[in-house]
């Protein structure tokens, strides 16, 4: 009989019974409430839209774990996690604005259409005020657009394309995760120290928008440290066998291979590049090197030994030593028996940030919430001092440069932190050309009224 009454349905039951007594038809249109899905009872429902089938299902599962944990902490259960270290102390562990937090889940299938269908059902059927999660930029941009049209808040999960807060930025959408430009800006100096300024890079890039924006960013930052770009080859998504793209690399005059791939593509291209002997090769009198700009724990697990010594970047890692990280890793680890991934972290933080913004605004109205998030400066959530920039709804914080560990002791420390790149180094102007330039605009906030 544990956790009875834990569902939204259970709580609605009481309301329904009293409503049934009246039995009088009341017709109203959606415009009658002050804004979309204004919570009226004693609860508020959040939507967690993550991939549960398809290649990123495991990542989605980890996001879901973190989101459930966040709801627990918001409702005052468990040890409170990062609520205790969060610089804003508006949240008291009694839900949001005194309303108990409920959640619904959905499957994005990592397809824009399915993700939007799932998000729509959350908005139309379950009455959510915010949607959080996801594991791909295409999905994030699609769902962000939907939330903008519907008049609720979108707190992006893992999305690394510059476009999410660049040319596709939306007034109702917010991203805590870092992006391709930041990866490039953080990696540049580290690569310069490790491999020198006289290098020739060969890019293999996943042939879709995320791949292109990341490649553009990395090329810019490596050329800024004096590297030359030999070639950029676009590879089909899900190619599986990358041999025909890898074999030309060694005889191309390049001495660094940059893999702008994510997920299974990265696992395969890196594994195969290592099999083709690129790690052992010499080119231009130097050791040949491989760089994977965007890392995730699951990719590292999938690639196994092949990532040893390979540089990349991350939004956050459980091995950080600040108080927020420690509190989060402790409560996540005790509940699930494993350290959280960086996509789990970003979803947890986004949920907390949303709840906090609602509390500070004193309203669930998405426009009020957006205003509370814009320009918000906070600390204690694992990334150090962070700014939610008003102009593009992108978080600015330190970026982690990672490296595949040479001697991992467990399956969880296969990546080690090389450097915490300070936020100043990864800052850019809101109208940066890689982010849609002057044309990019958030548009008007929409509360659905």
């Amino acid at each position: 009989m544990s956790k009875s009454n834990f569902t939204r349905r259970g709580l609605l039951k009481t309301g329904a019974v009293s409503g049934a007594g009246l039995a009088l038809p009341t017709i109203f249109t959606s415009a009658a409430s002050a804004f979309t899905n204004e919570p009226t009872g004693g609860t508020v429902t959040l939507g967690f839209n993550v991939p549960q089938t398809g290649p990123y299902a495991d990542e989605g599962l980890d996001e879901l774990r973190a989101q459930e944990l966040a709801v627990e902490h918001l409702n005052g259960m468990g040890d409170g996690g990062m609520l205790n270290t969060f610089s804003s102390q508006a949240l008291e562990g009694n839900g949001i604005l005194g309303k108990k937090v409920q959640f619904v889940t959905g499957d994005t299938q990592t397809k824009s259409d399915a993700a939007r269908a799932s998000a729509k059902s959350m908005i139309e059927k379950d009455g959510v005020t915010m949607i959080n999660g996801g594991s791909s930029s295409g999905v994030a941009i699609a769902v962000q657009g939907l939330c903008q049209e519907a008049g609720i808040i979108f707190m992006a999960g893992l999305t690394h394309s510059n476009d999410t807060t660049g040319k596709d930025r939306k007034a109702n959408g917010f991203r805590h995760f870092f992006n391709g430009y930041m990866s490039g800006a953080a990696l540049g100096p580290v690569l310069k120290n490790a491999y020198g300024t006289d290098r020739r890079a060969y890019h293999l890039t996943a042939d879709y928008t995320w791949g292109w924006t990341q490649q553009e960013s990395i090329q810019a930052s490596t050329e800024a440290i004096g590297w030359e770009t030999v070639n950029n080859v676009l590879t089909p998504v899900g190619a599986g066998d990358f041999s025909s793209y890898i074999t030309p690399v060694l005889n191309s005059g390049a001495d660094v291979l940059i893999l702008n791939h994510y997920g299974g593509d990265m696992v395969n291209s890196l594994t195969q590049a290592v099999q083709f002997g690129l790690r052992d090769a010499q080119a231009n009198g130097k050791d040949f090197e491989i760089v994977v700009p965007l890392y995730s724990e699951l990719m590292a697990a999938g690639a196994g030994e092949n990532i040893k010594g390979v540089y990349g970047s991350m939004n956050w890692n459980w091995q950080l030593s600040d108080a927020g990280t420690q509190a989060f890793v402790k409560s996540f680890g005790e509940k699930y028996g494993r350290p959280p991934s960086n996509s789990a972290h970003t979803c947890y933080v986004q949920t907390l940030l949303y709840a906090d913004a609602v509390t500070r605004a004193g309203s669930f109205n998405p426009c009020a919430v957006a205003e509370a998030l814009e320009g918000f400066e906070f600390d204690g959530l694992g990334n150090g001092p962070t700014l939610y920039r008003a102009e593009d709804h992108q978080c600015f914080k330190d970026v982690l440069v990672m490296k595949g560990a040479e001697n991992p002791t467990t399956e969880y420390d296969t990546l080690e932190i090389v450097e915490q790149t300070p936020v100043e180094q990864v800052m850019y102007e809101p109208n940066h050309p890689m982010f849609g330039g002057d044309e990019a605009s958030l548009g008007e906030c929409n509360d659905g009224a």
Partner: protein
């Protein structure tokens, strides 16, 4: 009663379909809001729209596959083309859906004419692979090289700086039909029930009824008879001096236009067109819908479409929290056991349930869901005739 050139039986059938379609928002909302079974309610706008849209897609597919037996594995290409056409019309003209839908039908028709003309030079599996190849090429190019036209992975959408030349000052800022905004709904609260009557759903529903009527006419027409003859024995048809190709090509183009219309309606409900709409999995989905429901029957494809979309949208949302809510009355040990077993079938494992049901239906109901419906109807009729003679006949699905 006879109307619109239909027989008695068909008229009654059409009326039933119309009634069911119009009452969908009520029929799909059988459980009161507060009850724990409300999870199974499907009467929210997005899913109802999908039922109608995929119903149209499957009805059209059935005109080709059900009548001629030609199994196309590339119909998703037309779906995608339809969606892209509509979103481009939004970008260029404005949010009224009419120009886009008309363009979508024309463009998908032309596209189908081209692909059909080439693919129909072969039959059987060779035809299927040709259509598959065309659709996969369209998908791969739309996802990558054709990004300027399709916006690639992100999906084609409207930006604030788009031209939208026909957009008046007061025009709605989302898809509408001469001012009737698609995403607006009226809600009716009746006791514990809440019914949502959505403009977009009714727009799709009316279109679906029209194209259903059209397919009914095609099935009953000499043209439909000719198509069935092609399925039965094309060689014999050739001996009679008839060239079957123009007929099959006509069926291919018509069903391509249905797919284009379905794609257009998808973009009319939700102004975004993604490339994965053209992937082989989407083509395969409509094949599955048609076979699952009952290929060659009028009602089957619609049932199949509803079945698959229902599982995709309802079962995938049943998570641990919901399960705990349902089984909370049980002792903890039993509760955890049941929830453990349920993990195989709901939430992230909803695919498994769907796969099992595919197998069960095809093993036990060789004619698809329609056959299931007919069996129930027959059983019902038998009992009824025992009860009170032969009174009103229950309408079989076809």
């Amino acid at each position: 009663m006879k109307m619109l050139g239909l027989s008695n039986k068909d008229t009654r059938f059409l009326l039933i379909v119309i009634a069911l379609t119009l009452l969908t928002p009520i029929i799909l909302q059988p459980f009161p809001e507060g009850s724990s079974l409300a999870q199974f309610n499907a009467g929210y706008p997005d899913l109802m729209q999908r039922f109608a849209i995929f119903g149209i897609f499957a009805i059209g597919f059935n005109i080709l596959f059900g009548l001629t037996g030609y199994l196309s594995f590339g119909h998703a290409a037309f779906l995608g083309v339809g969606s892209y056409s509509v979103v481009w019309m939004y970008k260029l003209l404005g949010y009224n859906v009419v120009p886009g839908i008309l363009l979508a039908i024309v463009v998908s028709g032309l596209f189908a004419l081209l692909i059909g003309f080439i693919s129909l030079r072969r039959s059987g599996i060779y035809f299927s692979i040709l259509t598959l190849a065309f659709a996969q090429m369209s998908y791969n190019l739309a996802y990558s090289v054709l990004t300027p036209l399709t916006n690639g992975e992100t999906g084609l959408q409207v930006y604030t700086n788009d031209a939208q030349v026909l957009m008046g000052a007061g025009a709605p800022n989302s898809p509408h039909f001469f001012g009737i905004v698609m995403n607006e709904s009226s809600k009716l609260n009746l006791g514990g029930w809440e019914f949502t009557f959505n403009n977009g759903y009714y727009f799709c529903a009316i279109v679906a009824i029209l194209v259903f009527y059209l397919s009914l006419r095609i099935f009953r027409s000499p043209f439909g008879l000719m198509l069935r003859a092609i399925k039965t024995n094309q060689t014999r048809l050739n001996y009679t001096g008839l060239n079957a190709r123009p007929y099959t090509l006509a069926a291919f183009v018509i069903s391509g236009m249905y797919a284009g219309l379905a794609g257009a309606l998808m973009a009319s409900m939700d102004p975004l067109a993604g490339a994965e709409r053209m992937q082989w999995t989407a083509s395969g989905e409509v094949v599955l819908m048609t076979i699952l429901g009952g290929a060659g029957t009028l009602m089957g494809p619609i049932l199949g479409a509803g079945f698959i979309k229902y599982f995709e949208n309802i079962f995938s949302k049943i998570n641990d929290q919901v399960l705990h809510g349902w089984f909370a009355f049980l002792p903890d040990g039993l509760e955890n056991f049941i929830i453990g077993v349920s993990h195989f079938f709901v939430g992230k494992s909803w695919h498994l349930t769907l796969g099992l049901l595919f197998m069960l239906v095809v093993i036990f109901l060789p004619g698809g869901l329609v056959e299931g419906g007919q069996r129930i109807a027959r059983a019902f009729r038998n009992r009824k005739s025992k009860d009170d003679g032969a009174q009103a006949r229950t309408q079989p699905a076809e």
